[in-house]
């Protein structure tokens, strides 16, 4: 049972990470910076609960806001770079964040113990949940409340004009501008929202695993983050969730016997998926197929036009 709860936790946290990349992908920004925001959320909220004895909700909120603030700042220079250059720039950002925490040593005595980030040794005492009598089921419920909340907000966004504007920017930013879209505002807002979502994910991650160190926040994790919405398709948020379940539940957990070779499987899957389903697993056809199966009215396409 504990084993499955652990997988639920991982899937929940990774879904948040994937959704943070999803928002950016909608506006056509491929970012490997999500792991940087995730790390900021993890360390900031951890520092607040451990060193300052804050309540978890306040700590998560501030962790998310700080991550969002950095994302907002990154949003402006990111406007000037596109495609591969943005990928490289965001990798650089994630590495800067990682190296900052790698060097951060902030030990404080709380209740007779030295606690806090200990540079290369990591940050090992993020035990808010255990110390406050939370059971693992509660933790899983908390994580999934956030997952559902964020998924609901993004799903709703897709139903209103703002969502269409995000997609318009992603499809062609010049055409979007000539349709009167404020490119700066949209791209920076998406970057900020992505930072906040990743920051919450990071905070939940740090508190559910009780320790983090710089190995946690490598480019591999950043690659996972963007691959979820790419594999799942950015037509809709559920694709990202399915991709996380598939990658974390099947490739990483199911193929555990393969050890590190799983990363090769992961790489191959991405290459395969990009070739076979460039629009992602959950594309327009997938959605209309499901609607047909459910007996709903299928979306009229070119064939009957």
């Amino acid at each position: 049972m504990l084993y499955f709860l652990g997988i639920f936790q991982t899937i929940g946290v990774h879904t948040l990470l994937g959704l943070s990349a999803y928002v950016l992908l909608l506006t056509g920004q491929l970012s490997l910076g999500q792991v940087g925001f995730f790390a900021i959320g993890a360390y900031v909220s951890g520092i607040l609960t451990v060193l300052f004895s804050w309540h978890i909700f306040a700590a998560l909120a501030v962790g998310a806001l700080v991550a969002g603030f950095f994302a907002f700042l990154i949003g402006f220079p990111a406007l000037r770079v596109k495609g591969l250059m943005l990928v490289v720039a965001t990798i650089a950002f994630s590495e800067i964040v990682r190296l900052f925490f790698f060097n951060l040593s902030w030990r404080v005595e709380v209740n007779g113990f030295d606690v806090g980030p200990d540079s290369t040794q990591g940050f090992r005492e993020i035990r808010y949940f255990a110390a406050n009598g939370w059971e693992q089921t509660h933790v899983v419920a908390l994580i999934w409340s956030f997952v559902i909340l964020v998924m609901f907000l993004l799903w709703w966004l897709d139903r209103v004009r703002a969502g269409a504007v995000l997609r318009a920017v992603g499809e062609d930013d010049l055409a979007a501008q000539s349709s009167g879209v404020n490119l700066t505002m949209v791209k920076v807002a998406a970057m900020t929202a992505g930072g906040v979502i990743a920051g919450i994910g990071g905070g939940l991650f740090a508190h559910s695993t009780t320790y983090v160190d710089h190995h946690t926040f490598t480019i591999l994790l950043a690659t996972f983050a963007v691959s979820y919405p790419i594999l799942g398709g950015h037509k809709n948020v559920f694709g990202t969730l399915l991709a996380v379940i598939f990658i974390q539940g099947f490739v990483i957990e199911g193929l555990r016997f393969m050890g590190d070779y799983r990363n090769i499987v992961f790489g191959l899957l991405i290459i395969l998926a990009m070739n076979l389903r460039p629009q992602g697993l959950v594309d327009g056809h997938f959605i209309s197929d499901i609607k047909k199966k459910l007996g709903g009215k299928p979306k009229k396409d070119s064939a009957d036009a």
Binding site: R161, R167, A168, E171, G180, D301
Partner: protein, 237 residues
């Protein structure tokens, strides 16, 4: 009426517009000619607020557009149809048209729907393909869609950047027929065009842009009698 004075725009150190002045009158088609790299697209981008000018002024029906951002310019009634018929490829034709109405009030829903029907009347091919992804349309259809999308903002003046480039002659004729209709409906148009023969059918005024400067301004008659232009654009001696 659009009045541009000494407009200068640069990309970093490269000056693409070196003091452009021109006027486009209400209800007329003003045509801008010029070789590749002359700065025509740069002028269109500067007018529509996509790039900011270094100097000069843009006056539109008594309002200054100088330095305004793209959404504000569009709200003032100046709409751009960018070159290369940029549509949103993964959105349906209908969604593309709705995108043209982003700057309109949300409360206009019924009017926006009515305008979409008007576009379908003007461009019947778009009606047939309204649920189809815009990326799957032919080049001519995409050009019509880009035009219709710009019209959805209910502009006072339309900026058309090379609408005929890369299209088959029959389709070029269709595009120009549409331009003529729009003009008859009273819309003011600034047309960037390389196809001088076709442009002569609709334009009331011509400007020649070369290396970021206006080198000729005149009526169609004056243009046809200008030796330089005749040689360069009309293929005669």
């Amino acid at each position: 009426m659009l009045s541009i004075n000494n407009l200068e725009t640069s990309y970093g150190l490269i000056k693409a517009l070196k003091g452009v002045s021109l006027d486009a009158a209400e209800g007329e088609v003003t045509c801008i000619l010029g070789p590749n790299g002359a700065g025509k697209t740069t002028l269109m981008f500067t007018l529509s607020g996509i790039i900011k000018p270094d100097a000069g002024s843009i006056d539109f029906f008594g309002t200054s557009l100088t330095g305004l951002a793209a959404p504000k310019v569009l709200r003032e009634g100046l709409a751009l149809v960018p070159e290369n018929r940029l549509v949103f490829p993964l959105m349906s034709v209908r969604e593309n048209l709705l995108a043209g109405a982003y700057t309109r009030n949300r409360s206009d829903k019924d009017e926006v729907e009515a305008d979409i029907e008007k576009m379908f009347a003007r461009f019947p091919v778009l009606k047939e393909r309204q649920e189809q992804n815009a990326g799957t349309l032919s080049g001519g259809e995409q050009q019509m869609l880009a035009l219709a999308r710009a019209l959805m903002s209910r502009p006072k003046m339309l900026l058309l950047d090379e609408p005929s480039v890369g299209l088959a002659p029959v389709i070029v004729n269709e595009v120009f027929a549409i331009i003529k209709q729009l003009k008859e409906d009273g819309l003011s148009i600034v047309l960037v065009e390389q196809n001088v023969v076709k442009a002569l059918e609709v334009a009331d005024h011509f400007y020649l842009l070369d290396q970021g400067r206006v080198t000729f301004a005149g009526t169609p008659g004056e243009m046809e009698n200008d030796d330089v232009i005749k040689r360069a654009y009309l293929g005669g001696g």
